[in-house]
Symmetry: C2
Subunit: 243 residues, 2 copies
Protein backbone atom coordinates (compact mmCIF):
# COMPACT_ATOMS: atom_id res chain seq x y z
CA UNK A 1 0.00 0.00 0.00
CA UNK A 2 1.18 3.51 -0.82
CA UNK A 3 0.25 6.16 1.71
CA UNK A 4 0.56 9.94 1.36
CA UNK A 5 0.63 11.90 4.62
CA UNK A 6 0.32 15.65 5.09
CA UNK A 7 -0.83 18.16 7.71
CA UNK A 8 -1.13 21.90 8.25
CA UNK A 9 1.21 22.26 11.23
CA UNK A 10 4.33 21.24 9.27
CA UNK A 11 6.74 18.31 9.53
CA UNK A 12 8.37 17.88 12.92
CA UNK A 13 5.23 18.26 15.01
CA UNK A 14 4.35 15.27 17.23
CA UNK A 15 1.04 14.59 15.47
CA UNK A 16 2.35 13.99 11.98
CA UNK A 17 5.25 11.97 13.31
CA UNK A 18 2.91 9.56 15.11
CA UNK A 19 0.82 9.23 11.95
CA UNK A 20 3.93 8.43 9.90
CA UNK A 21 5.08 5.84 12.45
CA UNK A 22 1.72 4.08 12.55
CA UNK A 23 0.99 4.24 8.80
CA UNK A 24 4.44 2.82 7.99
CA UNK A 25 3.10 -0.47 9.42
CA UNK A 26 0.47 -0.46 6.64
CA UNK A 27 2.79 0.28 3.72
CA UNK A 28 5.18 2.65 2.03
CA UNK A 29 4.77 6.18 3.41
CA UNK A 30 5.49 9.49 1.68
CA UNK A 31 5.15 12.62 3.80
CA UNK A 32 4.74 15.97 2.04
CA UNK A 33 4.17 18.73 4.56
CA UNK A 34 4.30 22.54 4.61
CA UNK A 35 7.63 24.03 5.71
CA UNK A 36 5.83 26.30 8.20
CA UNK A 37 2.49 26.25 10.03
CA UNK A 38 -0.50 26.70 7.74
CA UNK A 39 -3.38 26.63 10.19
CA UNK A 40 -6.66 28.04 8.91
CA UNK A 41 -5.63 27.58 5.29
CA UNK A 42 -8.70 25.56 4.25
CA UNK A 43 -8.25 24.25 0.68
CA UNK A 44 -6.16 27.32 -0.23
CA UNK A 45 -3.87 26.74 -3.22
CA UNK A 46 -0.84 28.77 -4.25
CA UNK A 47 -1.51 30.87 -7.36
CA UNK A 48 1.24 32.66 -9.28
CA UNK A 49 4.13 31.69 -7.00
CA UNK A 50 6.54 28.78 -7.63
CA UNK A 51 6.44 25.80 -5.29
CA UNK A 52 9.58 23.95 -4.20
CA UNK A 53 10.03 20.45 -2.81
CA UNK A 54 12.85 19.68 -0.42
CA UNK A 55 13.67 16.13 0.73
CA UNK A 56 14.31 15.79 4.48
CA UNK A 57 16.15 13.20 6.54
CA UNK A 58 13.81 10.84 8.36
CA UNK A 59 14.66 8.19 10.93
CA UNK A 60 11.41 6.24 10.58
CA UNK A 61 11.82 3.04 8.54
CA UNK A 62 9.87 3.06 5.25
CA UNK A 63 9.06 6.77 5.41
CA UNK A 64 10.38 9.43 3.03
CA UNK A 65 9.72 13.07 3.82
CA UNK A 66 9.46 16.22 1.71
CA UNK A 67 8.64 19.75 2.77
CA UNK A 68 7.30 22.51 0.52
CA UNK A 69 6.54 26.22 0.65
CA UNK A 70 2.97 25.37 -0.37
CA UNK A 71 -0.28 24.83 1.48
CA UNK A 72 -1.71 21.46 2.63
CA UNK A 73 -3.83 21.34 -0.56
CA UNK A 74 -0.68 22.01 -2.62
CA UNK A 75 1.04 19.13 -0.76
CA UNK A 76 -1.59 16.69 -2.03
CA UNK A 77 -1.35 18.00 -5.59
CA UNK A 78 2.46 17.74 -5.48
CA UNK A 79 2.05 14.20 -4.17
CA UNK A 80 -0.33 13.10 -6.91
CA UNK A 81 1.43 14.80 -9.83
CA UNK A 82 5.11 14.94 -8.88
CA UNK A 83 6.39 12.78 -6.03
CA UNK A 84 3.96 9.86 -6.49
CA UNK A 85 3.11 10.47 -10.15
CA UNK A 86 4.21 6.97 -11.19
CA UNK A 87 2.54 5.18 -8.30
CA UNK A 88 -0.61 6.88 -7.13
CA UNK A 89 -1.36 6.74 -3.37
CA UNK A 90 -3.96 4.24 -2.17
CA UNK A 91 -4.63 6.36 0.90
CA UNK A 92 -4.19 9.95 2.08
CA UNK A 93 -3.92 10.63 5.80
CA UNK A 94 -3.78 14.18 7.18
CA UNK A 95 -2.91 15.34 10.68
CA UNK A 96 -2.80 14.66 13.54
CA UNK A 97 -3.99 18.26 13.77
CA UNK A 98 -3.47 20.10 17.03
CA UNK A 99 -6.94 21.58 17.56
CA UNK A 100 -10.29 19.98 16.76
CA UNK A 101 -11.85 20.26 13.32
CA UNK A 102 -15.42 19.81 14.46
CA UNK A 103 -18.41 21.90 13.40
CA UNK A 104 -17.59 24.99 11.32
CA UNK A 105 -13.85 24.43 11.88
CA UNK A 106 -13.86 21.91 9.05
CA UNK A 107 -14.39 24.80 6.63
CA UNK A 108 -11.24 26.62 7.78
CA UNK A 109 -9.07 23.56 8.34
CA UNK A 110 -5.96 23.02 6.24
CA UNK A 111 -5.86 19.44 7.53
CA UNK A 112 -9.30 18.79 6.07
CA UNK A 113 -8.61 20.96 3.00
CA UNK A 114 -5.94 18.41 2.10
CA UNK A 115 -8.50 15.59 2.50
CA UNK A 116 -10.93 17.43 0.20
CA UNK A 117 -8.28 17.37 -2.54
CA UNK A 118 -7.94 13.62 -1.97
CA UNK A 119 -11.71 13.26 -2.32
CA UNK A 120 -11.61 15.31 -5.54
CA UNK A 121 -9.17 12.77 -6.97
CA UNK A 122 -10.85 9.64 -5.66
CA UNK A 123 -8.10 8.89 -3.13
CA UNK A 124 -9.52 7.64 0.19
CA UNK A 125 -8.66 10.41 2.64
CA UNK A 126 -8.86 10.59 6.42
CA UNK A 127 -8.13 13.60 8.61
CA UNK A 128 -7.20 13.14 12.28
CA UNK A 129 -7.33 15.88 14.90
CA UNK A 130 -7.02 16.18 18.67
CA UNK A 131 -9.12 18.53 20.76
CA UNK A 132 -6.19 20.62 22.01
CA UNK A 133 -3.96 23.28 20.50
CA UNK A 134 -1.10 22.41 22.87
CA UNK A 135 1.81 21.07 20.83
CA UNK A 136 2.87 18.89 23.77
CA UNK A 137 -0.58 17.35 24.37
CA UNK A 138 -0.43 13.60 25.06
CA UNK A 139 -1.40 11.71 21.89
CA UNK A 140 -0.66 8.21 23.14
CA UNK A 141 -4.35 7.32 23.66
CA UNK A 142 -4.92 7.93 19.93
CA UNK A 143 -2.15 5.63 18.72
CA UNK A 144 -4.07 2.31 18.82
CA UNK A 145 -7.00 3.87 16.96
CA UNK A 146 -5.06 5.26 14.00
CA UNK A 147 -4.49 1.98 12.17
CA UNK A 148 -7.62 0.31 13.46
CA UNK A 149 -9.96 3.06 12.23
CA UNK A 150 -8.08 3.49 8.96
CA UNK A 151 -8.30 -0.21 8.14
CA UNK A 152 -11.97 -0.33 9.13
CA UNK A 153 -12.91 2.69 7.00
CA UNK A 154 -10.94 1.38 4.02
CA UNK A 155 -12.74 -1.95 4.29
CA UNK A 156 -16.12 -0.17 4.30
CA UNK A 157 -15.16 1.69 1.11
CA UNK A 158 -15.40 5.34 0.18
CA UNK A 159 -18.31 6.81 -1.78
CA UNK A 160 -17.33 9.25 -4.56
CA UNK A 161 -16.30 12.70 -3.32
CA UNK A 162 -16.20 11.55 0.28
CA UNK A 163 -13.58 11.64 3.00
CA UNK A 164 -13.48 11.26 6.80
CA UNK A 165 -13.04 13.80 9.57
CA UNK A 166 -11.91 12.11 12.79
CA UNK A 167 -11.59 14.05 16.04
CA UNK A 168 -10.27 12.72 19.32
CA UNK A 169 -10.83 13.99 22.86
CA UNK A 170 -7.93 14.69 25.19
CA UNK A 171 -7.27 11.92 27.72
CA UNK A 172 -9.05 8.58 27.64
CA UNK A 173 -11.33 7.51 24.81
CA UNK A 174 -14.74 6.37 26.08
CA UNK A 175 -15.95 5.09 22.72
CA UNK A 176 -16.19 5.69 18.99
CA UNK A 177 -19.21 7.53 17.58
CA UNK A 178 -20.51 8.28 14.07
CA UNK A 179 -21.40 11.96 14.00
CA UNK A 180 -22.70 14.82 11.90
CA UNK A 181 -21.30 18.37 11.70
CA UNK A 182 -22.56 20.46 14.61
CA UNK A 183 -24.12 23.81 13.76
CA UNK A 184 -22.04 26.60 15.26
CA UNK A 185 -20.13 29.79 14.61
CA UNK A 186 -17.19 31.82 15.85
CA UNK A 187 -17.56 35.17 17.58
CA UNK A 188 -15.15 37.80 19.01
CA UNK A 189 -12.60 36.86 16.37
CA UNK A 190 -11.19 40.24 15.36
CA UNK A 191 -9.35 41.52 18.42
CA UNK A 192 -8.27 45.17 18.08
CA UNK A 193 -4.71 46.04 19.10
CA UNK A 194 -2.30 48.91 18.63
CA UNK A 195 0.83 48.00 16.67
CA UNK A 196 4.33 49.35 17.40
CA UNK A 197 3.50 52.59 15.55
CA UNK A 198 0.16 53.03 17.34
CA UNK A 199 -1.94 51.99 14.35
CA UNK A 200 -5.04 49.90 15.01
CA UNK A 201 -4.81 46.34 13.76
CA UNK A 202 -6.77 43.14 14.36
CA UNK A 203 -5.53 39.74 15.46
CA UNK A 204 -7.46 36.50 15.25
CA UNK A 205 -8.99 35.32 18.49
CA UNK A 206 -12.43 33.86 18.90
CA UNK A 207 -15.01 32.04 20.97
CA UNK A 208 -16.95 29.14 19.53
CA UNK A 209 -20.73 29.21 19.87
CA UNK A 210 -22.47 25.83 19.75
CA UNK A 211 -25.89 26.45 18.16
CA UNK A 212 -27.30 23.06 19.09
CA UNK A 213 -25.84 22.12 22.49
CA UNK A 214 -28.68 19.65 23.19
CA UNK A 215 -28.07 17.54 20.07
CA UNK A 216 -26.60 14.11 20.82
CA UNK A 217 -25.37 13.12 17.36
CA UNK A 218 -22.89 15.92 16.67
CA UNK A 219 -19.09 15.89 16.50
CA UNK A 220 -18.87 18.46 19.31
CA UNK A 221 -21.04 16.29 21.58
CA UNK A 222 -18.91 13.23 20.89
CA UNK A 223 -15.81 15.06 22.12
CA UNK A 224 -17.69 16.42 25.14
CA UNK A 225 -18.65 12.84 25.99
CA UNK A 226 -15.04 11.69 25.68
CA UNK A 227 -15.69 9.83 22.43
CA UNK A 228 -13.81 9.71 19.16
CA UNK A 229 -15.92 11.42 16.48
CA UNK A 230 -15.92 9.70 13.07
CA UNK A 231 -17.63 11.77 10.40
CA UNK A 232 -18.18 11.08 6.72
CA UNK A 233 -17.79 14.30 4.76
CA UNK A 234 -18.71 15.15 1.18
CA UNK A 235 -17.18 17.77 -1.09
CA UNK A 236 -20.46 18.02 -3.01
CA UNK A 237 -21.71 21.21 -1.36
CA UNK A 238 -24.98 21.42 -3.30
CA UNK A 239 -27.86 22.08 -0.90
CA UNK A 240 -30.15 19.40 -2.35
CA UNK A 241 -32.92 20.10 0.15
CA UNK A 242 -33.04 23.73 -1.01
CA UNK A 243 -32.70 22.73 -4.68
CA UNK B 1 -30.80 47.59 3.62
CA UNK B 2 -27.14 47.17 4.59
CA UNK B 3 -25.01 45.29 2.10
CA UNK B 4 -21.46 44.01 2.54
CA UNK B 5 -19.50 43.36 -0.65
CA UNK B 6 -16.21 41.53 -1.04
CA UNK B 7 -14.29 39.52 -3.63
CA UNK B 8 -10.99 37.71 -4.10
CA UNK B 9 -9.58 39.77 -6.97
CA UNK B 10 -9.31 42.97 -4.93
CA UNK B 11 -10.96 46.39 -5.16
CA UNK B 12 -10.57 48.15 -8.51
CA UNK B 13 -11.43 45.17 -10.71
CA UNK B 14 -14.43 45.67 -13.02
CA UNK B 15 -16.49 42.89 -11.42
CA UNK B 16 -16.63 44.24 -7.88
CA UNK B 17 -17.22 47.76 -9.18
CA UNK B 18 -20.31 46.66 -11.12
CA UNK B 19 -21.59 44.80 -8.03
CA UNK B 20 -21.11 47.92 -5.89
CA UNK B 21 -22.91 50.09 -8.45
CA UNK B 22 -25.89 47.77 -8.72
CA UNK B 23 -26.18 46.94 -5.00
CA UNK B 24 -26.09 50.65 -4.10
CA UNK B 25 -29.57 50.81 -5.65
CA UNK B 26 -30.74 48.35 -2.97
CA UNK B 27 -29.24 50.08 0.05
CA UNK B 28 -26.16 51.24 1.89
CA UNK B 29 -23.06 49.45 0.58
CA UNK B 30 -19.82 48.70 2.41
CA UNK B 31 -17.03 47.14 0.36
CA UNK B 32 -14.22 45.34 2.19
CA UNK B 33 -11.84 43.75 -0.27
CA UNK B 34 -8.31 42.31 -0.24
CA UNK B 35 -5.54 44.75 -1.18
CA UNK B 36 -4.12 42.24 -3.68
CA UNK B 37 -5.47 39.25 -5.64
CA UNK B 38 -6.39 36.29 -3.45
CA UNK B 39 -7.55 33.75 -5.99
CA UNK B 40 -7.65 30.15 -4.81
CA UNK B 41 -7.79 31.19 -1.16
CA UNK B 42 -10.93 29.20 -0.28
CA UNK B 43 -12.06 30.06 3.27
CA UNK B 44 -8.45 30.68 4.33
CA UNK B 45 -8.14 32.94 7.38
CA UNK B 46 -5.10 34.84 8.59
CA UNK B 47 -3.59 33.29 11.71
CA UNK B 48 -0.89 35.00 13.78
CA UNK B 49 -0.50 38.11 11.59
CA UNK B 50 -2.17 41.47 12.24
CA UNK B 51 -4.84 42.68 9.82
CA UNK B 52 -5.19 46.32 8.80
CA UNK B 53 -8.14 48.21 7.35
CA UNK B 54 -7.60 51.15 5.05
CA UNK B 55 -10.46 53.39 3.84
CA UNK B 56 -10.36 54.22 0.12
CA UNK B 57 -11.89 57.00 -1.93
CA UNK B 58 -14.92 55.90 -3.89
CA UNK B 59 -16.89 57.84 -6.51
CA UNK B 60 -20.01 55.66 -6.31
CA UNK B 61 -22.85 57.30 -4.34
CA UNK B 62 -23.75 55.40 -1.14
CA UNK B 63 -20.68 53.16 -1.24
CA UNK B 64 -17.81 53.20 1.25
CA UNK B 65 -14.74 51.12 0.54
CA UNK B 66 -12.06 49.53 2.70
CA UNK B 67 -9.14 47.36 1.71
CA UNK B 68 -7.27 44.96 3.97
CA UNK B 69 -4.21 42.74 3.90
CA UNK B 70 -6.47 39.80 4.76
CA UNK B 71 -8.23 37.10 2.77
CA UNK B 72 -11.84 37.22 1.49
CA UNK B 73 -12.94 35.26 4.60
CA UNK B 74 -11.12 37.81 6.78
CA UNK B 75 -12.95 40.60 4.93
CA UNK B 76 -16.31 39.19 6.02
CA UNK B 77 -15.15 38.78 9.62
CA UNK B 78 -13.83 42.36 9.66
CA UNK B 79 -17.17 43.48 8.24
CA UNK B 80 -19.25 41.69 10.85
CA UNK B 81 -17.10 42.52 13.88
CA UNK B 82 -15.41 45.83 13.08
CA UNK B 83 -16.75 47.98 10.24
CA UNK B 84 -20.42 46.95 10.53
CA UNK B 85 -20.36 45.83 14.16
CA UNK B 86 -23.14 48.25 15.14
CA UNK B 87 -25.34 47.55 12.14
CA UNK B 88 -25.03 43.99 10.90
CA UNK B 89 -25.33 43.46 7.12
CA UNK B 90 -28.63 42.15 5.76
CA UNK B 91 -26.86 40.74 2.73
CA UNK B 92 -23.37 39.70 1.66
CA UNK B 93 -22.48 39.76 -2.04
CA UNK B 94 -19.15 38.44 -3.31
CA UNK B 95 -17.60 38.85 -6.75
CA UNK B 96 -18.06 39.28 -9.62
CA UNK B 97 -15.27 36.74 -9.82
CA UNK B 98 -13.24 36.54 -13.01
CA UNK B 99 -13.30 32.77 -13.62
CA UNK B 100 -16.17 30.36 -13.01
CA UNK B 101 -16.70 28.74 -9.62
CA UNK B 102 -18.53 25.70 -10.91
CA UNK B 103 -17.91 22.08 -9.89
CA UNK B 104 -14.84 21.51 -7.71
CA UNK B 105 -13.78 25.17 -8.15
CA UNK B 106 -16.19 26.12 -5.38
CA UNK B 107 -13.86 24.40 -2.91
CA UNK B 108 -10.87 26.55 -3.90
CA UNK B 109 -12.73 29.79 -4.44
CA UNK B 110 -12.03 32.81 -2.25
CA UNK B 111 -15.20 34.40 -3.63
CA UNK B 112 -17.25 31.49 -2.32
CA UNK B 113 -15.11 31.15 0.83
CA UNK B 114 -16.38 34.62 1.78
CA UNK B 115 -19.97 33.45 1.22
CA UNK B 116 -19.39 30.43 3.46
CA UNK B 117 -18.47 32.80 6.30
CA UNK B 118 -21.72 34.67 5.63
CA UNK B 119 -23.61 31.37 5.84
CA UNK B 120 -21.83 30.53 9.11
CA UNK B 121 -23.19 33.77 10.58
CA UNK B 122 -26.69 33.58 9.12
CA UNK B 123 -26.14 36.44 6.69
CA UNK B 124 -27.74 35.75 3.28
CA UNK B 125 -24.76 35.45 0.93
CA UNK B 126 -24.53 35.28 -2.85
CA UNK B 127 -21.40 34.76 -4.94
CA UNK B 128 -21.32 35.90 -8.58
CA UNK B 129 -18.76 34.71 -11.14
CA UNK B 130 -18.23 34.96 -14.88
CA UNK B 131 -16.87 32.12 -16.99
CA UNK B 132 -13.71 33.97 -18.09
CA UNK B 133 -10.43 34.87 -16.42
CA UNK B 134 -9.96 37.90 -18.68
CA UNK B 135 -10.05 41.05 -16.56
CA UNK B 136 -11.50 42.99 -19.51
CA UNK B 137 -14.29 40.50 -20.30
CA UNK B 138 -17.62 42.19 -21.08
CA UNK B 139 -19.86 42.00 -17.99
CA UNK B 140 -22.72 44.16 -19.30
CA UNK B 141 -25.01 41.16 -19.96
CA UNK B 142 -24.82 40.31 -16.24
CA UNK B 143 -25.83 43.75 -15.00
CA UNK B 144 -29.65 43.38 -15.24
CA UNK B 145 -29.51 40.01 -13.46
CA UNK B 146 -27.55 41.14 -10.41
CA UNK B 147 -30.36 42.97 -8.63
CA UNK B 148 -33.13 40.82 -10.09
CA UNK B 149 -31.62 37.54 -8.88
CA UNK B 150 -30.58 38.98 -5.53
CA UNK B 151 -34.08 40.28 -4.80
CA UNK B 152 -35.65 37.01 -5.95
CA UNK B 153 -33.37 34.86 -3.78
CA UNK B 154 -33.87 37.13 -0.76
CA UNK B 155 -37.64 36.87 -1.17
CA UNK B 156 -37.40 33.05 -1.29
CA UNK B 157 -35.44 33.08 1.99
CA UNK B 158 -32.24 31.34 3.00
CA UNK B 159 -32.17 28.03 4.89
CA UNK B 160 -29.66 27.86 7.77
CA UNK B 161 -26.05 27.39 6.66
CA UNK B 162 -26.92 28.05 3.05
CA UNK B 163 -25.65 30.46 0.41
CA UNK B 164 -25.81 30.81 -3.39
CA UNK B 165 -23.21 30.24 -6.08
CA UNK B 166 -24.18 32.05 -9.31
CA UNK B 167 -22.14 31.61 -12.48
CA UNK B 168 -22.69 33.45 -15.75
CA UNK B 169 -21.62 32.51 -19.27
CA UNK B 170 -19.71 34.91 -21.48
CA UNK B 171 -21.86 36.73 -24.03
CA UNK B 172 -25.64 36.48 -24.11
CA UNK B 173 -27.66 34.77 -21.38
CA UNK B 174 -30.05 32.16 -22.82
CA UNK B 175 -31.85 31.49 -19.53
CA UNK B 176 -31.54 30.94 -15.79
CA UNK B 177 -31.16 27.40 -14.47
CA UNK B 178 -31.14 25.81 -10.99
CA UNK B 179 -28.15 23.49 -10.87
CA UNK B 180 -26.17 21.06 -8.76
CA UNK B 181 -22.38 20.87 -8.41
CA UNK B 182 -20.88 18.93 -11.32
CA UNK B 183 -18.50 16.11 -10.44
CA UNK B 184 -15.05 16.90 -11.79
CA UNK B 185 -11.38 17.30 -10.98
CA UNK B 186 -8.27 19.16 -12.07
CA UNK B 187 -5.31 17.48 -13.71
CA UNK B 188 -1.87 18.64 -14.99
CA UNK B 189 -1.78 21.29 -12.27
CA UNK B 190 1.83 21.16 -11.12
CA UNK B 191 3.87 22.38 -14.09
CA UNK B 192 7.62 21.87 -13.61
CA UNK B 193 9.90 24.77 -14.46
CA UNK B 194 13.50 25.77 -13.83
CA UNK B 195 13.87 28.94 -11.77
CA UNK B 196 16.56 31.59 -12.34
CA UNK B 197 19.10 29.46 -10.46
CA UNK B 198 18.21 26.30 -12.35
CA UNK B 199 16.29 24.72 -9.47
CA UNK B 200 13.14 22.78 -10.31
CA UNK B 201 9.94 24.41 -9.14
CA UNK B 202 6.24 23.97 -9.88
CA UNK B 203 3.71 26.51 -11.01
CA UNK B 204 -0.04 26.09 -10.97
CA UNK B 205 -1.62 25.27 -14.30
CA UNK B 206 -4.35 22.74 -14.85
CA UNK B 207 -6.97 21.20 -17.08
CA UNK B 208 -10.48 20.60 -15.79
CA UNK B 209 -11.95 17.12 -16.28
CA UNK B 210 -15.75 16.92 -16.30
CA UNK B 211 -16.66 13.51 -14.83
CA UNK B 212 -20.29 13.66 -15.90
CA UNK B 213 -20.41 15.46 -19.26
CA UNK B 214 -23.80 13.91 -20.13
CA UNK B 215 -25.59 15.25 -17.04
CA UNK B 216 -28.07 18.03 -17.83
CA UNK B 217 -28.61 19.48 -14.35
CA UNK B 218 -25.07 20.58 -13.49
CA UNK B 219 -23.53 24.03 -13.19
CA UNK B 220 -21.00 23.24 -15.92
CA UNK B 221 -23.78 22.21 -18.33
CA UNK B 222 -25.73 25.40 -17.63
CA UNK B 223 -22.73 27.50 -18.68
CA UNK B 224 -22.16 25.31 -21.75
CA UNK B 225 -25.79 25.93 -22.73
CA UNK B 226 -25.34 29.69 -22.31
CA UNK B 227 -27.43 29.78 -19.13
CA UNK B 228 -26.89 31.46 -15.78
CA UNK B 229 -26.29 28.76 -13.14
CA UNK B 230 -27.99 29.40 -9.78
CA UNK B 231 -26.92 26.90 -7.14
CA UNK B 232 -27.92 26.60 -3.49
CA UNK B 233 -24.89 25.59 -1.43
CA UNK B 234 -24.64 24.31 2.13
CA UNK B 235 -21.70 24.55 4.52
CA UNK B 236 -22.90 21.41 6.32
CA UNK B 237 -20.46 19.01 4.70
CA UNK B 238 -21.68 15.89 6.51
CA UNK B 239 -22.18 13.06 4.01
CA UNK B 240 -25.61 12.05 5.32
CA UNK B 241 -26.02 9.29 2.73
CA UNK B 242 -22.82 7.65 3.97
CA UNK B 243 -23.73 8.29 7.62
Amino acid sequence: MRILITNDDGWGTPGIRMLAEEMSRLGEVTVIAPDSPRSGHAACITVGKPLYLSEQDCDIQGVRVYTTNGTPADCVKLGLEVVMADARPDLLVSGINHGNNCSINIMYSGTMGACFVGAEHGVPAIGFSIDSHAMDVDLSHMRPYLLQLTEHLLSEGFRPRMCYNINAPVGEIAGVRWTRQCRGHWTKEMLPKADAEGRTCYELGGEFVNEEPEAEDTDIRALADGCLSVQPVTIDMTDYAAL
